[in-house]
Amino acid sequence: MRSVTGSLKSDPLQHLLRLAKEQAGDELSAHEQAGLERLEYALANRRRNWSWTWAVAFAAVLGGALLFLPRLLGTRALSVEVVSGTVSEGGYVRPAQGSDALLRFSDGSEVKLISGARARVTELKAHGARVLLESGQARVHVVHRADTKWALDAGPYTVQVTGTEFDLSWASADELLDLHLRKGSVVVSGPFTLGGVGVGTGQHLIAKQGSITLEMDTPESETSPTHSPTGAADDGAGSTDSGDADESATAEGERVKSPLSSGRQAANSKSGWSAMVAQGQFASVLEEAEHRGIATTLSRAPLDDLAALADAARYMRRDDWARRAYHAERGRFPTSRRGREAAFFLGGLAEGDSELSAALDWYDRYLNDSPHGTYASQALGHKMVLVRKLQGPGPASLIAHDYLERFPDGPYASAAKKLLAP
């Protein structure tokens, strides 16, 4: 179709759009209409196949049960009782008000939920159990036997246990995992652990948004820090990686930085504040910023200092300062990686304040600006969760499709699969 009115110089794109619209109109051709028959045939086949599938599945289950009945009778799954706590319909366990709840398992293992914590027993097997720590702190004691196999999930992390005592806490708003090993050893897997990080007696592991830190708590620990790429639990005397191995701890309380640290606080050794944050001196950073003047700091500090201040404020739960610092990063350094990443952290802060729509907007901005950024899988995962809350499982399932395509092994992959499950 040729334009016969006016010059196209002002709207050449509009003309092309008209051409594009014309090539796909509203009427369906006969061939396209025949798609309905094909669809109805597919639906009818699907119903037939489901009937067969259920029949075959039932037969398989029945056959399997008959075959393994002697073994099943001999090796029953663990049982659990809850002391001083309530169990909701979904299986969530919560301590009674003002007290700790105790999950007591039939193999002698115990998981104590400190007041305010929330957890769920997701699996009970003959040789172990799986517990999801939704939020808060738990003290875990797993009895070691030859075939003990326990796991604790906290956010995207999994702690694999063969016989230990440890304290575990998870704060979803900050995505902060805190593990203190009192006895034995575990392997922690999850984001940035490259298959698993071994944690031994006396060690303290902190995982926060892109960084893993191991700290020695005791002067003479029984083990050195290990990084176990195979994910196999070890007795604490396992091998260390060559070349890129963790720095060994040689003195009491010396912080051991995992080579897996890729987050903001490990990135830069130039800034004093960055180094202070890396050492956990969050309060000191805030004091210095206050001393300098927050407004002055936000308007003049270099990017590294702004990033460190934002992180320190976030860890200290000074969300107001954190927000201001992230906004300053975005405003003053919009095209920098940190400036773009600030959108992700602002999303986290909004989510923590239950400002879900605002959080969704921030995650969208981050995904828009950094589709392949460090936090892309987390941002898309958070987005999926928020869309489910705000719009329902239907729209969220479409994001789940996207998520599994882009991040099939990502931290939210199992959540995405659950959304897509029939």
Binding site: R2, Q23, D361
Partner: protein, 210 residues
């Protein structure tokens, strides 16, 4: 649902008229209730739109039949999770957008690994120069990311409201506005720099002035 060996079919009670005459919310409820009439009505109501969105996004002559089937099968699978039945049309658009984005990513992967991507069949546009211009235009759209391209088509070809585009892409309104502004500018610049399109558009200008 089976009761006593007899398969019970759920039929939606209609206040008047046939199912095809009912609004989207009623149709959605009929789909959720496994009303056997509902899939056909859903096809008749939404198939033209789905075909249009897929063809306009994927380009001239794209074979969209399999993708259309995917969209409707996904709709029938997921409609029971729709919280607001009146949002049925928006839901169909969102599924179409998701399907076309997945197809664009598949195409990109095949191109990256030099796997054959079937050359598009010529468009049905009667004007041969217009057909050629469309090919160049869609080559420009090939340079956009899947999300950007889908947003561009939904807003500027389908002429959907911004809120509907945002809903289809599961992004906020503000993000959608920013994305569309950026994408428009980029496409306009690429069109300006495309010699074939410049020549075509200039020739139209000259004709208009004669």
């Amino acid at each position: 649902m089976r009761q006593g060996g007899v398969r019970r079919v759920n039929l939606t009670v209609l206040s008047g008229g046939t199912l095809a005459e009912q609004d989207d919310a009623t149709l959605a409820r009929a789909l959720m209730a496994d009303d056997p009439r509902a899939p056909r009505v859903a096809w008749q109501r939404f198939a033209p739109m789905v075909h249009r969105i897929l063809k306009r996004t994927l380009g001239p002559g794209a074979d969209v039949e399999d993708l259309v089937q995917e969209v409707f099968l996904c709709l029938f699978d997921r409609v029971k999770t729709l919280r607001e039945p009146k949002a049925l049309k928006a839901f169909v658009i969102a599924i179409s957008a998701m399907t076309v984005r997945a197809e664009l990513r598949r195409r990109r992967t095949r191109r990256m690994f030099w796997l054959d991507v079937a050359a598009p069949s010529p468009s049905v546009h009667p004007d041969p120069e217009g057909r050629e211009a469309l090919v160049h235009f869609y080559q420009i759209l090939d340079r956009l990311g899947a999300q950007d391209r889908t947003a561009f088509v939904l807003r500027f070809m389908e002429e959907m409201e911004l809120t509907d585009v945002a809903s289809a892409l599961h992004t906020s309104l503000s993000t959608t506005k920013r994305r569309l502004a950026r994408v428009w500018q980029r496409v306009a610049l690429l069109v300006e720099r495309d010699p074939a399109l410049t020549h075509y558009l200039s020739s139209l200008d000259r004709e208009a002035l004669q």
